[in-house]
Every structure is written in structure tokens, then in C-alpha cells.
Symmetry: C2
Subunit: 341 residues, 2 copies
């Protein structure tokens, strides 16, 4: 059995005794083709081993059957639930996903977007709202259906689906203060070019300030999005400064690293120190201690973002942005506790 890279729609048409146009129709408008001829075509297809050529289809300026996704990184758990949900939903509607990573670099993102457009993706999904002017400009000029995932923004230029990260920050800060904590450290990654982290942090800080709580500089930790860096940062804090009674971390990965740090220093979480995350990653509920965090519903975001994008692709591209706010919710678990003042 050998080598037939090259059977085309004409070969199929001949074999089935119809015209190429009919074969094409049986793919794209099957209802316009007689059941019986469709059957013959299908037989011819499997006999010849024909596989459609989407490139030739895409060239009509019509459907390429692809959408593009640009994420900061695939390298950790942060986006995996989201991407999986988005991907599955798009696939259900016959789309294949072109995935690229920009390593949190917005200039890179522009280049990647261009390359996605070279492939004539029918739509693009991005993370968050921090994008270069060039990127926004290109999306606008080419009139590409686009959706931003993971952060809701009231007046966003483009459609978006996500939780309100600022609210998430405020909610977890509220939770912590209601447990009686006032000596609070915060741990966030670089918030430049990362609106999700920035909004969370703003939410936390503003809420605490409102309650009259000010974070001293040595309790304002800057860390990477990794367990190991978070652990190191927390160790530094615990070893060199007096201890806060609580740490609010920018996400669950950071929280996890900090819990390990505390444990490795013989501290009990939450008895000696409370630690919170944001995001509710899949393992946060099952860890020991389980992590108090904020649910951001990545599955829902991914799925809804896919729907929004599909709507744009199939419908009115000039319509005003669709914005879907996914509710966030504090999940109180074992890593925090009431403090006795």
C-alpha cells in the first residue's frame, strides 16, 4: 500500500462519476446533494484515500477552519484548563487550533499574530487586555474576530470573557481581614504587561488600604509564577523579617510554594500562618492543607470564549464587543484560619 499524497477532488469526481463541483458540494452543502450521489462520492473518497485540502478551500477567501490562540506560556498549569476547554469547544465546531506562546512578551505577540494571520485563521483568542497598540491596530485593520480571555473589562476594545480579577483580589483580601488578620504580606509576579496580575494586586491593596492596612515594603513580595521561586521568596521573608499572620498570593502556584516554605521552616499552615491563592487550580482542593483561594472558572471561561468567538466568526463582525463576566467566588479551605487577636 503506497504513497498517494496527491489524489484530488477531480480523481474522486471521476471515480464517483460526478463533477468536481458536486464533490465539493457534498462537503460544504451536503443537503444540496442527493443522498444517493453522496453515497457514491463517499465510497469514491474512501477508495481513493482522498483527504480534503483545506488550503485550497481557504484560498477562496472563505473558511480556513482554523483559529489562533496566543498565550503567554504553556509551561505551567495556569492556562491549561482554560486552553483545554477552549480547544475542545472549537474542535466541536470543526475548528483546529493554531497555538503560539509569546513568553509574556507583547512585541513577540504582534509577530505571532501576524504569522497567525498569514495562515488566515478565522479568529484569534488572546489572554487578557495588555496588548501592544500595533496588535490592537492590526486586529482592527484586518477586522479579525477576536476574544480576550481571563479578565473581564467593562470597556474593553475587544470582546472578552473572564472573571473580574480586581474583584478576585478584593474578595480574598476581604476574606483575610474578616478572619481578623492585619499583619498581611502579599506576593505577586511582575505586573507589567500582565493586566490579570495587576488587577488582582490592585484589588488586594485597595481593599486593605480601605481597611487601614498598609503593606510595608518588606512584606510586598515580588516573585515568579513558579513554586520554586515562590518558595524561595517566602523563605527569605520568613528568615529575615518578622512574620505576617497571613500571606495573600497572586495565584495558587505561588501560594503552594509559600506553603511549602512555611512547612519547611516548621510552621503550621494555617495555625502559624494563613496563606491564600487565587485561581483555584485543580489540585488546590486536594492538597494538604487545601488552599483557600478564589474560583475563576477556567473551564467556563474557555468554553464561553469559544462561543463568543464562533459568534463573531459566523455573524456580525462589526457589532460592539461582547463582554461576559464570569463570577468569582472565594473558596475558604484549610490554609486559612481565624486569628485570635
Amino acid at each position: 500500500m503506497k504513497k498517494n499524497t496527491n489524489v484530488d477532488i477531480i480523481d474522486v469526481a471521476i471515480k464517483a462519476g460526478v463533477s468536481p463541483a458536486t464533490v465539493s458540494r457534498s462537503f460544504n452543502h451536503p443537503d444540496k446533494v442527493l443522498m444517493s450521489t453522496r453515497k457514491r462520492i463517499e465510497k469514491a473518497i474512501s477508495q481513493t484515500g482522498y483527504i480534503r485540502n483545506r488550503a485550497a478551500q481557504a484560498i477562496q477567501g472563505k473558511r480556513s477552519g482554523t483559529v489562533g490562540l496566543i498565550v503567554p506560556t504553556l509551561d505551567n498549569a495556569i492556562f491549561s484548563n482554560l486552553i483545554q476547554a477552549f480547544s475542545v469547544e472549537m474542535r466541536k465546531h470543526g475548528f483546529t487550533m493554531l497555538v503560539t506562546t509569546n513568553g509574556y512578551d507583547l512585541n513577540d505577540e504582534y509577530t505571532l499574530l501576524r504569522s497567525l494571520l498569514e495562515h488566515r485563521v478565522e479568529g484569534v483568542a488572546l489572554i487578557g487586555h495588555d496588548h501592544s497598540d500595533e496588535t490592537y491596530n492590526l486586529l482592527d485593520i484586518r477586522n479579525v474576530p477576536v476574544v480576550s480571555m481571563w479578565n473581564y473589562k467593562e470597556n474593553s476594545k475587544i470582546s472578552c470573557v473572564g472573571g473580574e480579577n480586581k474583584e478576585a483580589g478584593a474578595e480574598i483580601a476581604k476574606h483575610i481581614t474578616e478572619l481578623g488578620h492585619t499583619k498581611i504580606a502579599v506576593a505577586f509576579p511582575n505586573v507589567k504587561e500582565n493586566d490579570r496580575a495587576r488587577d488582582r494586586k490592585i484589588g488586594v491593596i485597595e481593599y486593605l488600604n480601605k481597611k487601614g492596612i498598609i503593606i510595608p515594603e518588606y512584606w510586598n513580595i515580588k516573585t515568579e509564577y513558579s513554586v520554586s521561586d515562590a518558595r524561595n521568596c517566602a523563605i527569605k521573608l520568613l528568615d529575615n523579617y518578622n512574620h505576617p499572620t497571613a500571606i495573600i498570593a497572586g495565584n495558587d502556584v505561588i501560594a503552594r510554594g509559600m506553603i511549602y516554605a512555611a512547612q519547611s521552616r516548621g510552621l503550621n499552615v494555617p495555625n502559624d500562618i494563613s496563606i491564600t491563592g487565587i485561581g483555584d487550580f485543580s489540585s488546590s482542593e486536594s492538597s494538604f492543607p487545601s488552599i483557600t483561594t478564589v474560583r475563576m472558572r477556567p473551564n467556563e471561561v474557555g468554553k464561553k470564549a469559544a462561543s463568543v468567538l464562533l459568534e463573531r466568526i459566523n455573524g456580525d463582525r462589526e457589532a460592539d464587543p461582547t463582554r461576559i463576566r464570569v463570577s468569582v467566588e472565594v473558596k475558604a479551605r484549610e490554609s486559612t484560619k481565624l486569628i485570635n487577636n
Copy 2:
């Protein structure tokens, strides 16, 4: 600034005062075009906002500039390092990646492969060696450059890059027995249609048997690849049966869940029980206790797999499979300890 989805190579040619053929050449064979005209063309490109149409290029039966990747899932950390490394390397060489997930279903995989081929990907990367006959057959018939990642296999039908999972299993079993353990439980996921897990498990069991150690059925745990399920399974074991002194888990995620289970039951790891993983995920070194595991070098695998695939794409597609074995290595850490008999 509005709406120019449709500038094509001809518009650019006119603007630059050359023929379309020359514009095309300046992309694909820049050396065959006078520097000065190339400059004019580039200027015309940026003035018109032209973006190449890869579909039109792909239709010539030549380069589509894409490769396909089929993974079981994006939903957890298991493959993320690997994918990231693969993706970055392919991108460096100008390829964009079409990603799909089959949810560990090999029939689905065949469908996904077909859809990737519809997009005329120039090459395909798969995980492991368990694939349906149809899948192998299709790859063969279409003569698609292909690489299998994550599991080395001596006589594989297709090129592969990975560690030897059986060896990984044997190595960690060796490590555990050398620490004096004989009362050992194992925890693996469903090994059907998953050669990586199967090989690991075989490696463990065979080694233990050779040492005269037999795993009783109630210490032979079957779990999902998730922290939560692993934790539940371990709890069941700890609550209902006498305790082993060690648990060998199929990967680090499972090990993590089991450590949490032990801790939640007031057991100390490793003093009361030793627990090992396989895979050395990024957080395994920083967790508390850090996890004794086997390094599988996902970054190296991803990068090398990309190289192998590129070689096939650019070179001799009929050549015998290239097989690269990436060494595996036990990382002894805090989650295991010597037992006093």
C-alpha cells in the same frame, strides 16, 4: 484607518513597480532578487499592509508552514514542559503548530490526524507508541514526516525521542529496594492505550519480582492522573489495609496526591512512609517534602523531537526511523528514606 483584508501580491507588485513573480521570489528565494528591488518590495509591503497568504502558498503542494501535534490532554502539567519546548523550537524554524487533544482515545486520534492532514501539516508529532493501526497506516500511506515523543522504543515503526520508561520504572524500584523497603505499594493509572505508563509499571513490577518482592492486590492501586484521585486512592489504602513502607507512584502528580493523603492522616513522609514519583515535574523539587523521582528531561525531549521532525521534513522521508534515547536518572530527595529493618 480601515479594512484592507484583501491586499494581495499583485497590489504589492504594482506599488513596487515589479511583477507578482518577483514579489513571490523575494519571499521564497530572496537571493534571486536584486537587493534594490527587494527594498522597494518591502516598502510596498509595509505601505499596503500586505500579509502573505500561506494557504495560497500551501496549495502549490509545497510548504504549509505548519506542523501538527496530538497530545492526550492539555489539562495538566504532564505534557506542558514538553509541548512548550517543542513549540518554541518549531517556531524558531518558522513553523506554526496545530494542536489537538485526543483525551487518551486512540480512535479519536485517527480522526484528529486526518483533520491535521486536511490542513496539510508538513509533519506530525505524537505522544508514545500506542496508536491504532489506522493511524500508523495513514501516516505511512501519506508518507508524513512523524515523530513520537516521550517514550524510547528500540524497534519503533516511527522515529522517536524519549526516555526509556521501563528503565525509569526499574530504576526507581531499585532505588526503593536499596533503601531497604520490601513492603511496597504501587499506584498507576490505566495502562491500556498508554505505553508510557505501561512500560513504567512493567519496569517496576519486573524489578521487584526479580528481588523476590510480590505486590499483593490491595497494594496494587489504580488511580487517575490527578492529585485528587491519587489522594483519595491513597486514603482508601491507608484507612483500610496495613501500610506499606513505601509507595511507588506512576508519576509525580500521583505521588503528590499520595503525599497529601499521608500528611492528612498524620503520617510523616518519609519517616512513616516513603513515596516516589516519576517524571520530575517542575515543582517536585520545591515541594515539601521534595519528591524522589526520575528525571525524564521533557525540555530535551521536546527540543530534540522538533529537530528530528525538521530533519525529516527537509530531508529524506524514506530513511529509517531516527531514534533518540534520552537518559533517565533517579533524583533522590526528601520523600524517601532508608528503612531500619
